[in-house]
Symmetry: C2
Subunit: 494 residues, 2 copies
Amino acid sequence: MAKELKNLTKRSEDYSKWYNELVVKADLAEQAAVRGCMTIKPYGYSIWEKIQEELDRRFKATGVVNAYFPLLIPKSFFGKEAAHVEGFAKECAVVTHYRLKVDEQSGQIVVDPAAKLDEEYIIRPTSETIIWNTFRNWIHSYRDLPIVVNQWCNVMRWEMRTRIFLRTSEFLWQEGHTAHATGEEADARARQMLKVYGDFVEGFMAIPVVRGVKSETERFAGALNTYTIEAMMQDGKALQSGTSHFLGQNFGKAFDVQFLDKDNKPQYAWGSSFGVSTRLMGALIMTHGDDNGLVLPPKLAPIQVAIVPIFKSKDDLDKIEARLQPVIEGLRTKGISVKLDNDDKKRPGFKFADYELKGIPVRLAIGSRDLEGNTIEVMRRDTLEKMTMSLDGIVDRIEALLEDIQRGCFTKAKAFRDAHVYECNSYSEFKERIGDGGFYLCPWDGTAETEAKIKEETQATIRCIPYAYSQENLGDDMVSGKPAKYRALIARAY
Amino acid sequence: MAKELKNLTKRSEDYSKWYNELVVKADLAEQAAVRGCMTIKPYGYSIWEKIQEELDRRFKATGVVNAYFPLLIPKSFFGKEAAHVEGFAKECAVVTHYRLKVDEQSGQIVVDPAAKLDEEYIIRPTSETIIWNTFRNWIHSYRDLPIVVNQWCNVMRWEMRTRIFLRTSEFLWQEGHTAHATGEEADARARQMLKVYGDFVEGFMAIPVVRGVKSETERFAGALNTYTIEAMMQDGKALQSGTSHFLGQNFGKAFDVQFLDKDNKPQYAWGSSFGVSTRLMGALIMTHGDDNGLVLPPKLAPIQVAIVPIFKSKDDLDKIEARLQPVIEGLRTKGISVKLDNDDKKRPGFKFADYELKGIPVRLAIGSRDLEGNTIEVMRRDTLEKMTMSLDGIVDRIEALLEDIQRGCFTKAKAFRDAHVYECNSYSEFKERIGDGGFYLCPWDGTAETEAKIKEETQATIRCIPYAYSQENLGDDMVSGKPAKYRALIARAY
């Protein structure tokens, strides 16, 4: 079994296969019996819970409150915002009936044709429409604004090509929706939430991101501006990890959400929305994972320290456990999650491989000889480095080690990312190199034509106009030769 | 506006109307634009979050792990367990298509007939079928058992008559699903979770419940036994507040979930399931609410203490806030949630009424005169009692007061409940009195015929065979006159 665990395809052999295998072998998730949908297994879900908990805390610190809106959206709602319908009302699950019955002839369960709905419902692909329809009843005066609500929920988009966590028909996410008295305020909220996302993904998930603004083509359907954080996976491809949108008055007008301003004049409400999803699980796996399995930054790890006692007899185990007791208590007092794995049905070698596969940041092993020498073996998952440490002061050292691993995960990922960001002013060079992955900073004339040409010819897309790179002295667009308006970040993406 | 807030129908006038009004006026939830569905508003949702958080903690302490299974269930799955299909596959939302398109003639958005699914999907009304289908791949050996998973999610049942929180087409809940090597263990888990529910609802929500076992008729579809907690609302009607089910091998057999036992022999897995839902919000409102609005037991209250400063000038307010600062910090240090409401656009009278309506357990008011006297006005929501307290030692006194309110809510509800539980051995007396509400402990012959007759003639149902009441010296069934097998708890119910 330990051998089977180790039997993971190497990233260098087939990155895509490595990912698919790791998701299943590390017990994160699996394909469900429903087309394009996944089952998130307990271990995977416990990581998602960590993400949720921390994000929810950060949201609430900015004044976000949670609520819950219906799963189903009347079909007619999608027609109300012109751009939105194009983007979302197409590939989606449609509820047409509300009853099954047993067919008298065949004895089979069939849809009851008498129970056809007058108007079909769509399972929400995103909730702007139903929420703005609700806002109409909540907003009458400027005193009712701003509204800053969020829901944690499931959504559904009927994707043709699916991949666990990255693109599934059903996925879990949070969607924040806000309404404001002014456009400045709505736009500021969208930017603020992008900052929350960026800080969270870098500070908690140890994934470096590029912050920027989307091109018009890549904007959220119905938005005036979409802000994004883009992470680089180990194959050099981009993964959009979170977006926020300035919606202008588009939904306010589409759903007739008006309020009386301070001068008692009617105005349409301004909006923003923002979301991250279980896609972040994919970013996590593909940023930190290695050929031995998952690597979890400590802040995300449901178990931060696994302890494997090596024992031949019950007496040995008792002695080891007695010595470990204060260590475990000391760690827990510091808020560190510890698992003591004294299961005698599994061999230590199996346990080591399993904890590696699952990405547990620190693994301790201790046998009778260690006990005599007052030492313990410490392995850090990120570097696979083994150390022998004295049991004296071990609690403080492990605490420091966890902090070091958290930093190390980010530093390593950032070094990789930075080494694969290139300035590129030549389209022929771009076409030559894009197959190797990486982020390319290229002069762009700002037109959708150029953008479409790049996408068609290279399968790469403009990920964003990045904030962090200079937008001066751009020269000419590498494709059209016209004067460039932006330095765009271009990459192939998940 | 304060007047409008107060304009709540009295319970004695129309209990049902009082409930409907209170749900909306206290900002808990409202009817959505989707038939039979609700929007849970931020204030209502913040109470639901308190329920979730505490229950989740208690579940995990018993070894429950969370996971996520698909929203959609293939239609054919429902046919596999005979009793289950009867109970659940009838009134449900059916997904038949996966695409919309714009109709070229009308320009309207229509369902694309070309995108018809080969097999329809049902939006989960409960997830036993899809989860047991998944268990088949998870369970091979007795070493894989037990499995104790739970999910927090939305479910949908196409209810004809709906009422916010009590019976809606979509609702939020948790559903736990477990698999075991023996029937004893599965049954013990079902009983254990009922104990968790009972302890939680009484200890945290301050709602007294009767624990017991359901009659065969009232069992969960597919279960061998259903355990229940039944609460009494202020109109004397019962509200089933949580159930757990011993499923025997029914789903193990239906979905062919077999494992090799210690003797290497194949066995079907044994199961249990358990759930509570946003119905608990209804129980909360109808147990504790009064003619002034919601009454929240402190453990459930998102805001436990609201402080209203009474001031005429900015200078007054500054002085009051300065004096309150250490009080607020002291309360927060004790983990008590405090809101200082210094909004000068609303009058104190409005705030008082609003906090009463929203059920905030303790409301403090303090003006310049109080400051001179070093006192503060304290109102407890449960009794509406007003007290003047010294500011010295106020933090400890408020902490004690919150504990007293928590106890008081339970004591009051239990006294009401106990005063409305009657032993009744005569069917004519039962028929006369059932209209007044209350729980009736009646001798029952154990037959479905008698049960059906009672339901038909009185709209009352056997809520459970209660554990806490003597099952000896029962005499004869009050309806059939045959020897009674049980003393059943009979009541009209939500």
